[in-house]
Symmetry: C2
Subunit: 99 residues, 2 copies
DNA sequence: TACGTAACTTTGCGCCACAAAGCTTCACCG
DNA sequence: CGGTGAAGCTTTGTGGCGCAAAGTTACGTA
């Protein structure tokens, strides 16, 4: 049986799942690029990133080259949690995918 | 890119995802069995099932052999929606699964 | 000095998951 | 018959959360 209680509640939300997927695919993302890519309001995006940060899943670095510029990245714990989440997805897919 | 907006909001919730997974794996489930399997309060379970029913994803048949007894099953539309959902999961898995 | 932009924070709204408790219908038992 | 218990469902209440819009702060530029 699949253990759905293992589905990390922090990751199992469309917006944050999309963020985690982007962060997992590239080592670093600037806030503006995330915002553009996700078509998300800045307030909403910041809130999701804060939730992920509080969970220890993402780190942030603030710079001031000209305009202020904040970059986000997955922590080791974040990557681990994401891979664990993906593993649950995989078990669902394997069970139900036709063919 | 993965289109997260395609993640069906009705299915993308732990409880209902678990229900859909069970219904997809066996043609018919009695209410009591679902409740036992999912360790969910009956009120909560009924609410989720109603949501799925309103979406046209599950059908229900009421019988009265001895005790009242309601059975639930996936509709064609429900199966289609679930497979579509699983397809999105698969794209996530394929993109991020190590190896 | 006025303006614009990045990155937040605050506020407010509406929805929803969840549990607990109540209701209704029926079968069984004295 | 009247009581008991179980199945299924509704109601009520609470807390949390996604989301947008507007306000805030800091800084760099015209």
């Amino acid at each position: 049986m699949i253990d759905f209680s293992q589905l990390d509640k922090v990751i199992h939300e469309k917006g944050r799942l999309a963020i985690m997927s982007l962060l997992a695919a590239r080592p670093e993302w600037r806030f503006q690029d995330l915002k553009t890519e996700l078509s998300m309001s800045d307030g909403n995006l910041v809130t999701h990133l804060r939730t992920l940060h509080k969970a220890g899943y993402v780190s942030l670095t603030k710079e001031h080259d000209g305009r202020p510029q904040t970059s986000y990245a997955l922590t080791d714990r974040g990557r681990e949690a994401f891979l664990g989440y993906v593993a649950v997805l995989e078990s669902i897919v394997l069970k139900h995918k036709p063919s």
